[in-house]
């Protein structure tokens, strides 16, 4: 199956803009299903972006982040063709990792 992580990282010289969309239910643990039973919490807790072995952005998330979460940020010090490593871990211990080339 394809990665759960979609990344677009584009460099405009000095800064690199990064957008990521991740496929994840992000169940908060406060919502009931159609049978009236609570859907247990299931959400990404940490999402880390690394460039050149260094953390450039860390997201700590709770169940209040939307389903299929999206985040956008920008950082300096990277150039076109560099690799960006993205990884997440959720509250059940599941993880996923991918790398993306900066365009």
């Amino acid at each position: 199956m394809a990665s759960t992580i979609r990344v677009r990282a584009t460099s405009s010289g000095e800064t690199t803009e990064v957008q990521a969309l991740i496929q994840h239910p992000m169940d908060s643990g406060f919502v009931k299903d159609s049978k009236g039973e609570i859907i247990p919490p299931h959400f990404i807790q940490q999402l880390i972006f690394e460039h050149d072995g260094k953390n450039v952005f860390t997201a700590d998330w709770g169940g209040g982040v939307s389903k299929d979460p999206y985040v956008k940020f920008a950082f300096k010090g990277a150039k076109k063709g560099d690799e960006l490593k993205i990884s997440w871990i959720d509250n059940k211990g599941a993880t996923d990792t991918t790398t993306a080339k900066i365009q």
């Binding site: 800064t15 992000m26 908060s28 406060f30 807790q45 940490q46 260094k54 953390n55 450039v56 952005f57 860390t58 997201a59 700590d60 998330w61 709770g62 169940g63 209040g64 982040v65 939307s66 389903k67 979460p69 999206y70 985040v71 956008k72 940020f73 920008a74 950082f75 300096k76 010090g77």
Partner: protein
């Protein structure tokens, strides 16, 4: 009485820390190491803050202090959320030495939604999509130079209907 004293000394300590960082920059000493150390110490997932029900408790668990208002933090949020399940919120700030940006929704069952660590070299601009249980204040807290700043905006949330 005693809590007041504690709060006061905590604030004082933090102001001092902030001033210290600023001094380092002023002297031309690379503040990178400082932020890096701070970041490393913060790398753990803030479990407690994400358990706090109220916005004040969450901020306290995260930062151990209370934010002051700032006109240097700009939050972009809709007046009326198209749907509480997906509310796009973004923030930019002209504050220097930003180390962390957090998003909270006062009326959510768990107030803290997301907290981002901003190492040196990363711009203090973040956009994300959050859930809102109902009409509420959305609070963005920015930690910069060891101080805490906050802005708040009400976003109306309505549900259901035959739109689309």
């Amino acid at each position: 009485m005693s809590t007041m004293a504690n709060d006061f000394s905590a604030t004082r300590r933090l102001i001092l820390k902030g001033a210290g960082v600023l001094t380092l920059i002023g002297l031309g000493i690379v503040p990178l190491d400082v932020t890096k150390v701070l970041a490393a110490a913060n790398d753990k997932y803030p479990e407690e803050a994400f358990k706090a029900k109220s916005e004040a408790d969450a901020i306290k668990a995260l930062y151990g202090k209370t934010p002051e208002p700032s006109d240097k933090v700009k939050m972009d949020a809709p007046e009326i959320a198209e749907n509480g399940a997906v509310v796009p919120i973004s923030v930019t700030t002209t504050l220097a030495d930003v180390t962390s940006i957090s998003f909270l929704v006062s009326e959510n069952p768990v107030a803290l939604v997301a907290s981002y660590k901003i190492p040196a070299g990363t711009l203090p601009n973040v956009a994300n999509r959050i859930k809102m249980a109902r009409t509420s204040n959305v609070v963005v807290v920015v930690e910069a130079g060891g101080k805490l700043y906050g802005v708040s905006k009400e976003v109306k949330v309505t549900v259901g209907g035959c739109g689309g």
